[in-house]
Symmetry: C2
Subunit: 327 residues, 2 copies
Amino acid sequence: MNNMLVDLRIESVGLVKPSIEYELDKSVFEKTGIEKVNIFDDEYTTSKAAICSAKDALKRIDMAASDLDQLIFQSEGMSDYLYMDSSKTIMLEIGGRECGNIYTYDFFRGNNGIIGTIYLINNQLTGNPEINYSMLCSSLLWTYHSKNRQLGDTYLGDGAGAVILSCRSGGSRVLGLSTLSFSQYNKITAFKIGGTVNDINVAGVKAGDFIYDILDYDHLASMREQIVTGSLKVISQALSESNLKMKDIDVIGILGFKKNYNAKILNEILEGQTVIDLLSKNGYLGSVGFFAVINEFLYNEKFSKGDILLLIMIGMDYRIEAMVVRK
Amino acid sequence: MNNMLVDLRIESVGLVKPSIEYELDKSVFEKTGIEKVNIFDDEYTTSKAAICSAKDALKRIDMAASDLDQLIFQSEGMSDYLYMDSSKTIMLEIGGRECGNIYTYDFFRGNNGIIGTIYLINNQLTGNPEINYSMLCSSLLWTYHSKNRQLGDTYLGDGAGAVILSCRSGGSRVLGLSTLSFSQYNKITAFKIGGTVNDINVAGVKAGDFIYDILDYDHLASMREQIVTGSLKVISQALSESNLKMKDIDVIGILGFKKNYNAKILNEILEGQTVIDLLSKNGYLGSVGFFAVINEFLYNEKFSKGDILLLIMIGMDYRIEAMVVRK
């Protein structure tokens, strides 16, 4: 991926962290490194959480929703209703433009595709002068449609986040992006029933098959063998895109699903940097992890203006992605 | 929407029309104008049909799959598995690039969003010089997850289609695009159960609620009141984007869900043009209708090089879209 980021900026981030803390068994912690996950109460739906995060991002920079020219909602989980148009619902509820020159899209597969989508948004911002401010939003609630929040041997935390991107602004500059796909292992996760391969039926629902789960364990196993080498490759590429060396990085954000992979990767790259690793206190956050790390980096005063973050995302998916941002 | 289409071209179209013909009752025909729909046999899954259409589009211009730089899969229906990554599966199976600089995305909500997505692809092609050829693909199978193919008072046909777009080529030029959203009626269709509002349960599955259906009849009724005026507005805008008058148009393609709306719109605009209206022989085709009309216009010899098509899409959705193309 050559560097097409002419001047991509993060204007603002919004984040909703659910208030309920769900402690996991000690045995789970020993295996996965996850102590607890935060979960939404029953009042929340996917779009309600997304709307809160979108409002939060707008409020932070005192921006009117009507100034947004694009809104992309991306998620690996469920919307309020299956196949409803969440992006339009969010745009409507935050008071954005309803009609006219407004572009809203719903994407599948948040997981690690979130940085790939930022690439797409960068192209939208540079290719279409009508689009000045683009919001990317994601929202995950795992109370329904997960095996008690377990996905393989990781545990899923709830949350919602939003980011406002622009390329003609004074926000934090994105210096480089890099993504790596192992397409040959592209069936790691999905719902076993409810598609055109296996129709949904009462037996399947009773058996609890209508959950987001591992679909192909061979794909998962093959992907895992390449997590460490793949991550190092993606990191090296993101640094090269940014014209930086590892020693120029101040903060490393790592979003993984299991502690031992995170540890191995950090062991290979750390040169004294501060680490943001949300796994033990938040579980595996999927696409929402992206917003959580950027939120921490931009708004925690312990990180200074000018600091540079390298973010690595390794998920229960076949993609590994990295991004470099200067605060 | 100002005209950002610097030089958008349709390079090729692929289409898969299922072989089984499913005749509808005479009473249905009288009410809807739909005689029959074509349906896929049980061998097909969403991705199998999509892969066939993608290969068809490539074959028509003798293009290697490895020359595609982007693939977007967009659908209002179900994938092989819920929340699987169909775009990557299609790219893999047609022999496209697996890794590296390849951009694949899965979008929800095909319906009338397909022309809005062409706008997004146009921005990708103009904003990122790495993307020379972008494929947009859609595939619909309604055997599962529909009420015997009924959606409100229309009937759904199966099918799959793909289009290859470029802005540095010799293909058929897209002269103008226009889209109109009635965001306030954005809950017309979805699945009633299976999201974060209503969990899926045995009773709901037994009751047949896990189907793509009308979610909010008030939204549908309000949208319907505006179909004719909205369509005329979108048509007028698409003509204006193209710097054309209605008399310059040779062919009108209309994709609607009920004969009386189609008739009213045609009655307002027709000035002797040839009409492509697939409703009676194909039913409501959703996003696949787009590929079916373009396929007919570009490859039926009764239309000549230089002919200009105005395509109007009015669906069971809250969007109306139009496009103008010169063969």
